[in-house]
Every structure is written in structure tokens, then in C-alpha cells.
Symmetry: C2
Subunit: 585 residues, 2 copies
């Protein structure tokens, strides 16, 4: 057996900031060297950030990625770090003649091994995900190489993210070609309960490959996606060895005992293998160092404590806000505070993400606002120390009503729009990012005003069902310190307060019942018959399907927010607008 100390760089790259990400690579490699690591592994597409969407189709972007990879390899050597091999994801290009249907420039979701100033091996993702949030057939062509580099006597293979999730391909080739360790850079977005699936998957693939597996994931928010870290190492039997923290940047170091390579290295160094998925993969063997390291005392492996399910969701939301603000170059956020639970939770998430001093709230009472709407909001301001101002909307609404006659829903929407406009105006004047406060239950059923409460740049809780909003508020209040959310905001009956004595239940079913149905209809795409077979009340199914389908039109115009479940709105649920399909009701 041979020893290796591996460092998994659970980092937070910025999409498009190739120079900044390269800087991070050098800095973290220096830290890994300081920790005595023999190998450092960065996430998928680390150099460009991920997902880079249509940027990967732009020539100048691909060229910058490729050039920077070589430059950073040379720089590592210049700075005395050349002997520490680095595995890093980047954007490359396949050497293919252009053809119809192939993405422009034949981009590759690639990984490289950097050593002694040079790029010594390259590969690219073989399996391309093209479901849910992923569009990778649009962006990439398939990789067909598996690098295996010998490091201190251990053969180390490199595969990428989706290569674990599908059958055949690099993992099955590792099983035949033999390796002591499989390292896997990932860009794997958070979804509720995905961590359990991920561990089971890594364990299964390690057994299949017949070697230990080191999984490194990125961390941080990127537009609608949140990456949760959760990097981990399993041994060849699939047993968990070490596991990094969730939602936090971390240089995660683990000592491993690994089998010495048995294969004789010689010419030719390339071999073709059946990948058991109808394709052929070429193994490319590279020798970095043949002899095992001198025996040393290993550090005990770390298994970070897991967050419980509500804590995970809360951290995902905070991470989403923090990185959307930072990566877009905002200094502060602004939001309307109604005294209700949705805006209270959103303000709390924002304060936890960027500090209360950078959170600006606006209380915008109307002629229909209850007294507690102001007092509950003021109580939250007092507890959290966020900035607050009061802007009454009655006179502005009157000015509109003097010019045009409005009734019913149009009059209700006007109030929501005046508030949205006030927030956007203050945002334009002072540079704050506008946060919207709508939850998933409201948005799914269309209980929201276009250009009103839905106006803003980021929607922190847009993928959180209302019943989960309450649970998160209670969870957050149960954490150490002053409970940030006034109890009255949690316990009072929800109301939009757009007309006298309005209650959410005037238009919507009880949220527990509604949310269970929305999970099945929106997230699981069940049809009417399936929903009824799953035990939902037929009359309610009819009503809710009608509401959700009618709300589709608005949803296409809704701004991005974080994604924490397998399905959310907008990009994930691409239904045509001019669409006459209705479930048979």
C-alpha cells in the first residue's frame, strides 16, 4: 500500500471571472502545499465557473480559458508549487470539424492535470446531463478520454460529475484499466435530500470501479442554482472515509492508504476500451512519480456533522442571496416589509446573508393595512437592526384613481404595483438590489401581481412552499440568540391586505393541503388521474390544476431566484404560453 494526502478544494468560483478563479487556484494550491498535500483537486469548470451557459459558445471565452490553463500551470511552477499536481475543471474545445447540430466550437466540459509547469493530461466529461436544470447537449460535445496518472506509485483516474450518474463510460473503464483512486470534480447543485443520494451513488461507483473515490463539489450560489459542497471520500468498498461541510468553502484534506499500481508503464501509453455504452474510451497513462512517499503519520479523517433538512434549506437560501448580491456587484438589498411571514423570512435570510446594516426595508401601509402589519414589521426591524423607512401609498393610489377608474382585482393589483415601483425607484436611486418576497405556493397558483410584488432582481423564497416558510421561520427562531422573527408574524392568519378583511383562504385551500398537491403536480408532473390515485381530493385537484395552468403565463416573466427542489418555475417548467392543453377536468 502507498500513502497519499489529497486536498479537495471545495471552492466558490465566479462564472466568467477566469482571472479571479485562476488567482484562487494558485492561492488554494499554496495552502494545500502548506498542509503537505500530494494532490489537490478543484471542482468541475472551476476556471470558468459553472454553469457558464451560452458563454461557452463564444470563441473569445473558450480561448481565454485554454490560454489561462497553460498560464496558471506555468505560474504554479514559477511560485514553487509545480511539484504538487493539480486537477482542475475548465472549458476546452474538441478538435472536430463543425457540423449542423454540434454546438459552436465543439466545447468540452474538461479537466486537466497540471504538473511541473505543464498541462500533462486532459479529459472531458463523457456523459452530458440534459434534464432538469441541465442543457448540456446544447453546450458540449462528449469527451472520450480517461487520464490515469501515476502519483507516488498510485494510479489516479479522473472522471467528471455526470460520469458518476449514468451507467457505462469512464467508471466502467476504470474497473477494467485499474486505478488506486478515482478523483471526480463536480458542479452538483443542491436539491432537498440530494446529499443522501450522492453518498449512495459514490459508494456504488467506488465498488464498481474497484478503488477509492474522491468527490469534490463546488459551493456557493450561481443565479438560480446553489451548490452545497458536501465533498466526500469513500474507500474501494464504498465505506465513507471523510466528508466535508455543507455550504462552506473548505480546503478538505484527507490521508489515504491506496494500493500501489500494478500495471507496467511503457509504450504505447494509450489503450482503447469499450465503455459499455456504445462508445469507446481511450485511456491515457502519464507517469508523474513512480515511488511511494516515505511513510508518515496520517491525520485522522474528518466527517463533518450533517445539517438537518430545514437547516440545509435555510443555508441554501442564505447562500443564494449572499452570492447573487456579491457576484452581481451589489452592496445592499431592499425589500418591502408587510408584517407577514413571507417578507419577515426574506428579510431574515437577507440579514443572515449580508448583515442587517446592508438590508433596507420599506413599510408601505395602505388604506387596508391592519395595525399589526406595521407593529409586527417594526418589531422585526427592532429585533434585527435592519434599516427601515415608512412610505404610505394611499396618496399615490389616489392619484392613479383620479386618472383612471379601477375595480376589483385591477384595484388590488394597483396597490401591489405602487409598492413594486417604490422599491424599484429606491433601488435605482440608491443602488440596492430589490428582493421579492413571494413563496412557491403563491407563485404556482398565480396569487401574485405581475410588476407588483413580483418586481425585483432576486426572489429568495420563490422555490419554498408556504408550509415550509412557516417551518423555516420556526427553525430560525429556535437557533441561539434573539429570535429574529416576531411570533405574531408566524402565528397570524395570512392575508394580502389588498381589500378589507381579505384572507388567503378566500382564494386558496389550506396551505398544508395545497402544498402537498403542488408537490405532486408541479414538481412531479403528475396528471389529473395520477393525482387522484395518489389520494388528493378530486374537486381540489380540478381547482388547483386550473389555477396553476392559468398562472403559467405570468411565470415565464418571473425573475430568477434560488433552486432547491427538483423542479421550480420558469426555466424548469417550460410550457408554451399560447397553449390550449388542459388536463381533463
Amino acid at each position: 500500500m502507498a500513502q497519499l494526502r489529497i486536498a479537495l478544494a471545495q471552492t466558490n468560483p465566479v462564472v466568467g471571472d477566469i482571472a479571479g478563479n485562476a488567482e484562487t487556484l494558485v492561492e488554494w494550491t499554496r495552502r494545500a502545499a502548506g498542509r503537505g498535500a500530494h494532490l489537490v483537486v478543484f471542482p468541475e469548470m472551476f476556471l470558468t465557473g459553472y454553469p457558464a451557459e451560452d458563454l461557452v459558445l463564444r470563441s473569445s471565452f473558450a480561448e481565454a480559458s485554454i490560454a489561462t490553463l497553460s498560464e496558471v500551470a506555468a505560474r504554479l511552477a514559477d511560485e514553487g508549487l509545480g511539484d504538487l499536481p493539480v486537477v482542475v475543471g475548465y472549458l476546452d474545445r474538441a478538435d472536430l470539424a463543425p457540423r449542423v447540430g454540434q454546438p459552436k466550437g465543439a466545447p468540452l466540459d474538461a479537466a486537466a492535470v497540471l504538473h511541473r509547469g505543464r498541462v500533462v493530461a486532459k479529459s472531458a466529461k463523457h456523459h452530458l446531463p440534459n434534464y432538469g436544470v441541465f442543457d448540456e447537449y446544447r453546450y458540449f460535445v462528449r469527451g472520450d478520454r480517461l487520464p490515469i496518472f501515476r502519483l507516488h506509485g498510485v494510479d489516479v483516474a479522473v472522471a467528471l460529475c455526470e460520469d458518476l450518474w449514468q451507467e457505462g463510460g469512464p467508471v466502467s473503464v476504470v474497473a477494467e484499466a485499474g486505478a488506486g483512486l478515482l478523483v471526480v470534480p463536480n458542479g452538483s447543485p443542491y436539491e432537498t435530500n440530494k446529499d443522501d443520494v450522492r453518498l449512495e451513488l459514490c459508494a456504488r461507483r467506488a465498488r464498481e470501479a474497484g478503488c477509492a473515490l474522491a468527490y469534490v463539489n463546488m459551493v456557493g450560489g450561481q443565479d438560480e442554482l446553489v451548490f452545497d459542497g458536501d465533498s466526500l471520500v469513500v474507500d474501494a468498498s464504498g465505506a465513507l472515509v471523510a466528508r466535508a461541510s455543507q455550504f462552506r468553502e473548505e480546503l478538505f484534506v484527507t490521508d489515504l492508504e491506496l494500493p500501489e499500481a500494478a500495471v507496467e508503464l511503457g509504450e504505447p501509453s494509450h489503450d482503447s476500451y469499450d465503455a459499455h455504452d456504445g462508445t469507446v474510451i481511450t485511456v491515457e497513462r502519464v507517469l508523474l512519480s513512480a515511488d511511494p512517499v516515505e511513510p508518515y503519520e496520517p491525520e485522522p479523517p474528518v466527517v463533518a456533522e450533517r445539517l438537518d433538512d430545514l437547516a440545509e434549506v435555510y443555508h441554501a437560501l442564505v447562500t443564494g442571496v449572499r452570492d447573487y448580491v456579491r457576484k452581481n456587484g451589489f452592496k445592499s438589498v431592499i425589500l418591502g416589509l408587510s408584517g407577514g411571514i413571507d417578507s419577515a423570512l426574506t428579510a431574515t435570510i437577507a440579514a443572515d446573508a449580508i448583515g442587517p446594516e446592508r438590508v433596507h426595508t420599506v413599510l408601505m401601509p395602505s388604506r387596508y393595512s391592519s395595525d399589526h402589519s406595521i407593529t409586527d414589521a417594526e418589531e422585526l426591524v427592532r429585533r434585527q437592526g435592519v434599516n427601515a423607512q415608512v412610505v404610505p401609498i394611499a396618496d399615490i393610489v389616489s392619484a392613479f384613481e383620479k386618472e383612471i377608474a379601477l375595480t376589483g382585482l385591477a384595484a388590488e393589483n394597483l396597490q401591489a404595483r405602487v409598492r413594486g415601483m417604490l422599491l424599484m425607484s429606491l433601488s435605482n436611486e440608491h443602488g440596492h438590489l430589490v428582493l421579492t418576497t413571494g413563496n412557491k405556493s403563491e407563485l404556482a397558483t398565480g396569487y401574485s401581481t405581475l410588476y407588483g410584488d413580483s418586481a425585483g432582481g432576486y426572489a429568495p423564497i420563490k422555490d419554498v412552499l408556504k408550509s415550509v416558510v412557516w417551518k423555516l421561520a420556526e427553525w430560525r427562531n429556535a437557533q441561539p440568540g434573539v429570535p429574529p422573527i416576531p411570533e405574531n408574524s408566524i402565528t397570524k392568519e395570512p392575508s394580502a391586505e389588498l381589500r378589507p378583511d381579505q384572507r388567503d383562504t378566500d382564494s386558496l385551500p389550506q396551505y398544508e393541503v395545497l402544498d402537498s398537491l403542488l408537490r405532486d403536480y408541479v414538481e412531479r408532473d403528475m396528471g389529473r388521474d395520477e393525482l387522484i390515485a395518489a389520494g388528493h381530493d378530486p374537486e381540489l385537484v380540478t381547482k388547483v390544476i386550473r389555477m396553476v395552468d392559468l398562472a403559467e403565463y405570468k411565470r415565464r416573466q418571473y425573475p430568477p431566484g434560488p433552486k432547491i427542489t427538483p423542479k421550480n418555475f420558469g426555466r424548469d417548467r417550460r410550457l408554451p404560453i399560447t397553449n390550449r392543453w388542459r388536463e381533463r377536468l
Copy 2:
């Protein structure tokens, strides 16, 4: 040789309206029988409408399509139309075990042949487009069958849309298997100048297949897409025989002399062919009728007159508005009329699309509005007979300014937002669809207010560069009848009138110069070096790249409109929002 009279059903299906589309199929088949046709061909995915986006992943939708196909076959026979074979596109499913990465339910972009009450042959699109507006790897699995049915002694093969655009696949198999006619149902969206490309393509594929080719395209608007019809027939040498009109529903009938089939039909009726693209295609032969029809006097072939380039664009815009209004169930539209060219052209397009009596305009003068902004708008109202009302915004703006202090851009945006809110309020009150009036040059450079002039359900000219806006206005005024657009709206210098003496050229370059640069940067994805090499001024390149990149964030929130060029905003230009990539400036 044998004669065949073929009818190409250049129709306008509604996405999701399976029952309505089936009704249209029966009605048009009856008309084709009345015209003495021997074969009628409907467009791609006709039964479901196209593109159906994520609807194809819903079980109940796929089941309804498959069931309706059988029902409509039976109904045709019941109504005495069973002897006339029908080729029609629909949504089917492949019989595949589910696997990761495969779309849910393994949907097929399928075509069927209906005859004597039964579905006698099925196939599905082999090449799936996954570029530009197409996401078909997300939605479909590949078809691998080529039906060849013998009709009155002529072998007729069926391929689908993209199968023409890529090398290998069904067309190359037709060349080997032999056929007298290749019929191709299409859903091919309009782009400027695409008609020329389409004819050349059909000619080339006919020569390659060694037989005549009948190309039937759908017509009409579907959200961001507009289908232009332009169905056509070429002979085996690639020469144009007949060509249908553009942007109009039409049952297009053509008589053809075709070679009699030479292949002996017998068991087995299936043969496997190398598709020359790494796959294998199975030919499925079906006998409908062996003997040629009695000789008859053919009708002379029709080649419809072509629209010139500006007329094409104008028809595409009118079609987009008309179908968005109709397919979404609106009765009327509303828009702001500023006296400027953009709103004047938009109003004219709307009036041409649905009639001036269903167009509602609102004149919303502010303290900065010039006199001619009102008089030019009133002149348009007078010429076209659209509905009009005047709603001054000064008092509403003052009411806002009494509550919050706004300066500069924030104060300018407020005016645009008050106007957007008035239109949305009137829309909510009276049920009109709000049309926005922004053009592509403005939107690309961010010269637009989020939730202000960009607020609305449909943006008729969002993909039209400003220099083309002027050309379209002049073109429309040159048509027979009263020139609908006041000359002063065309000739005056453009201004947003959001502050005293404002001119577009305060912030933007001259539009001719700007638009040429936008074509290369936005539509052709050129990088900075390429743009300069193409002859653009380096300083202007720097400035415009900066403007366009900064406007990305807004664009993701912009509502849909028609698509008339290879690239537009939003869905086509998917750049991450939190993106730090900038062209090196």
C-alpha cells in the same frame, strides 16, 4: 410513370389543442378529397402543435396525442375519407426502458400514415435539432424507422424537418432503398432570408434521395416563433415545381408525374440500412394500392409570388401579434402611443393584425412631452381609427415624488413605470393584452426601463433593429390606401422625452452604425477582435459591448415576442446573470 395529386396542408395548429387540431385535420382532408387529391400531408407535430416544450414530458399529454391519432383515423373512414391517405405529425413514445438522461417517457417527434381507418405506418424524426431556438435533445429520443408506402404504384417515403438539415439519416436511406417521392412534414420557424436557404436545401436533398420532394411547413405564430409556410415541391433533379404562399393558411395542391415503384413487395417488409451517421435505420414497406391511377389532365403547378424582404418581416410581425392575441384568448390589445416611430409602427402592426377597432391606445403626456408627441399620436389615431384616450401622468409622478426623492435615471424610470402601470391597470380592468413598443437596438443596449416601457405581455418589434423599424414604416406607408403612419413620426429625431431636450443620440451612437455592430455582436456572437477585424470602430466596439453586456440582466426578465432573426434576446442568448466575463476592452 404514374400520376399523383398531392395536397400539402399548410395549416396553423394550436399548441395543446389536440381536439381542435384533429378537427382541422378532418376538415382539411375533406377539402383535399374534394380537390381530388390522392395524398394529403400535414406539418410536423400537427396534432399537438409545435413546439410543445415541456408538455411533451407529461404522460397525460402524450397519451392524448396517441389516442387521438387512432380516433381520427377511424373518424376519417367513418366520414368516407378513409381511402385518402393522410401523413400527419404527432407526439408518440418510444418503447424504451427509462434511463438517466433520457427525456421522461421517451417522447418521439413522430409522423403517421392514416389509411382506411387505421394507422398503417409510423416513424419519428431521426435528427433532433438542439441549437438556436431548438432544445430537442431535452424533449425527444431519436427515431430509427423510415416508412415507404406504395400509393397507386408510387413508393412514398416520409422524413421529418431536421432530417433534411443534417447529413446522413433518412435521406441517405431513401437514396439506397429507392422511392418515387419523399414527403417531409416541417415546423420550420421564419428567419430573415431563410426561404432562400430552404429551397436550396430541398433541391439538394431531392437530388441526393434521387426522387421528388414535397415539403410542407406550418404557418402562424407560436409565442416567440413565427412559421412562414412556404411549402414547396421540387422534382428529382432539384428543380422547383410548385411553391405555396408565405404566412397564409393554404391547402396547396400539385399534380406530379412520378416513377412507378420497381421494388418487389413481399416478406419480410423490413430492411435495415446503414444511415451513414453511425446509426441504422429500418425501412418499413407498406402497400396501400399497387396500380397507378387512371391518367388524368393535371392542373398547372402554382408558384406563388414571393414577398420582398421587408414585406416578409412585416408579415411575420403581424402574424406574431394576431396569433398571440387569438391563441391566448384575448379580444383586444392596449399600448402607449408616444408620437414616436416605435409605438406608431407597433400600433400599425396591431391594427393590421386584429383590426383598428380592437386596438386601444393611450396617450400619456408628461411635463417633458413635446407638443408634437401629442399631435403626431393624434394624427395616427385619426388615420387608422384605433381607440384612444389621454391620461396625463404629471400628477401621479408628483404623488410619488412627494413620498420619495428621486433624481437622474431614477426619475426618468419613474415616468416610464407610471405609464407601464397605467397600461397594466387598464389591461386588468378591461382585459386587453398590453403590447410593449421597444425595438431590438434599444433592448440590446439597455435603453429601456424594467417594469416601465418593457412591461407587457407581447413585444411585437423586440427583434427588429431601429434602422429596420424606419424601413418597415416607410414600406407600410408605401402600400395602397392611406399611409397609416404620420410622416413626422418617421422623420423626427428619436427621443425618449424623459428629461428636457433629451435625444437618443445623447446615449447611443447613430442607429445605422449601432445596428450593424449589434448584428455582429448579438446575432453572430463575434468577440471584440473579430468585430474590429470586421471593420467596426474600436472605440465604439468597446462602448457597445459594455452596454450590451450590462443590459443582459434586464433581458432575462423581458417578455416574449416574435423571432425573426437567427438570434434574439432572452431564451436564445442564455448568459448567466452573475457573470464576470467581459470581452477584453
